[in-house]
Symmetry: C2
Subunit: 334 residues, 2 copies
């Protein structure tokens, strides 16, 4: 273990997982925590509820396609969906720097309110802290969320042939933030995909028996999320590069910046693992959802017995092993 916390401990990849395991799991140890992914599930009065939390530190606070408020509401809603839960209630806690522009604060709050109404969830409790100038960079927001579990995904039942759907073009959020941070002049209409995804969850209710898993590829991107799925499924994922939806502009910018879009955060996309027999039908259903017209089947699970890794067939016909995020991507992406 390093002696100090480094930026990479927050990148959502290997180092984050080490920090969580070696410090937080060690001292908070309990069954629910260590068995949970992006949200935890507990039971009250025979009802299964999901509980999740996320702090948002994105920079800049406002970006094409959204702002920290929209992101904070969407991110927590989406984590509940990954637990098979219908999101119901959010909490919201602001840490604000002294001197922060009140109009911008109101704009962020309005954006949160609007995103909540669109998603049909309510912020029912909150907290506000103000710290002296320099003690926080602008505003950080924590949202925690509660939902009612509707679907029992069966990640352990993932088997050969199961198909992997992504609900839209990848890397849009991460690329948008990079463009803003590096101050690159870009022609065209690049914007974050950030948004709540519970409408997809509702639309897919009739298919829940055929859905093995949902996971949103946020920090660490598609590559890291697929590697986390491996840890549960234990079998090889075969990815088809040419099937992965990615906007032309997103691709070009990442080539320019020398960044790999597979590792860029999405904030409004879901990975859905489904039975082979129902994959086509589910894909059609997803494509009918708002902002999901580019949804695609991007890969499948190989026969068991192969070691658990993500192998991508590249556009030029090669094979590339795609690992978890290890290097330094951009900090403060979400």
């Amino acid at each position: 273990m390093e002696k100090i916390v480094m930026l990479r401990h927050g990148d959502g990849g290997k180092h984050t997982n080490l920090l969580i395991r070696d410090i937080f799991y060690k001292h908070f140890h309990n069954d629910i925590l260590v068995n949970s992914l992006d949200a935890s599930i507990f039971e009250v009065n025979q009802e299964r509820l999901a509980f999740t939390t996320d702090s948002f530190v994105v920079k800049p606070l406002v970006f094409p396609g959204g702002d920290i408020g929209k992101l904070a509401v969407s991110g927590t809603i989406n984590d509940l969906v990954t637990a098979g839960a219908r999101p119901l209630y959010l909490s919201c806690s602001f840490i604000i720097e002294e001197g922060f522009d009140m109009k911008l604060l109101e704009k962020i709050a309005a954006s949160m309110g609007e995103t909540c109404r669109k998603a049909g969830v309510k912020i029912i409790t909150g907290d506000t802290k103000v710290v002296e100038k320099g003690a926080v960079d602008g505003v950080f927001i924590n949202t925690s969320g509660i939902g009612v579990v509707q679907a029992a995904y069966q990640p352990k039942a993932i088997q050969e042939g199961d198909q992997i759907i992504i609900t839209g073009g990848i890397a849009q959020h991460g690329t948008t933030i990079s463009v803003e941070r590096y101050g690159i002049k870009v022609e065209g209409n690049i914007k974050s995909d950030c948004g709540p995804l519970n409408h997809i969850f509702e639309k897919l209710q009739p298919y829940m028996g055929s859905i093995k898993l949902m996971k949103d590829p946020t920090r660490g991107g598609l590559a890291t999320a697929l590697n986390e799925i491996l840890e549960v499924s234990g079998s090889e994922i075969q990815l088809l590069e040419k099937a992965i939806p990615i906007a032309g502009e997103v691709k070009s910018i990442n080539e320019l910046l020398g960044l790999d879009p597979l590792y860029h955060a999405c904030e409004g996309r879901m990975i859905i693992v489904v039975d082979k027999q129902k994959a086509g039908e589910i894909l059609e259903e997803v494509r009918r959802c708002e902002d999901c017209e580019d949804a695609a089947i991007i890969g499948s699970f190989a026969p068991t017995g192969l070691s658990p890794k993500v192998v991508m067939e590249t556009v030029i016909g090669g094979r590339r092993i795609v690992g978890s995020l290890e290097g330094n991507m951009l900090p403060r992406i979400c």
Copy 2:
């Protein structure tokens, strides 16, 4: 409304309430939110649950009697208790500054784990963000909490003669932080009262029918908390200064600093409003709880018809109206 956010918007007093009303309630508006106090109550499958959130930004991170971790766990547990709920589960989200000492992080996590075990609650979900040096001052922690509502307090049934109990000496947390921040050399054993209070809640279960309200006097102190109770009860509170438990050292330091202990945060005390007939019995029960030997009845509700204000009979026999916190107390007390 001011054009920028000021430190006083975070002091837990009038300005915080204005900010919440004019910005957050406006945009997040829903029945549960606007009717809630420190925690919100919602129903799932005929079970009433409480939900609360708090971000902790205290400076220094470690202080006599506790640290930011103990404070974060205790504060959220105590907010659930004020909603009549038995705390069950917490979330925990860290925002950490790059370069933060890993050993100190582990010390804070260990303190959280220990406080959880003592209180019988579990941290079941979490999040970790790391931001670049200078973007946050050390570490900030959000804890959100869920509990099962056990008691339906009846604040609207508060009536003439109802007694007000405080579970121990006031102003210890706020004074301890002031001493640390101003770097005052103090003889004696001044330390924060910070700690979880659900053991008192459990002990008082047989008396729940006689308890009208519980409220923890954190930011803004006893004075502000009592004024918030007025908003619900609508009748005058008569406070007896000589009955308010306060350690001699705490009193002296505040005289030295020119600060009023009535406005200093407690982080391990509860205000309990009880029926007159049961007040003595409940007080005895409270005094038998850990760290509650100084619990006392400090006042009562006057006949209805008087305007809702807090009036204190001072030690020299005068009458003083005690308002909500309006001025600037120390920021980052919790």
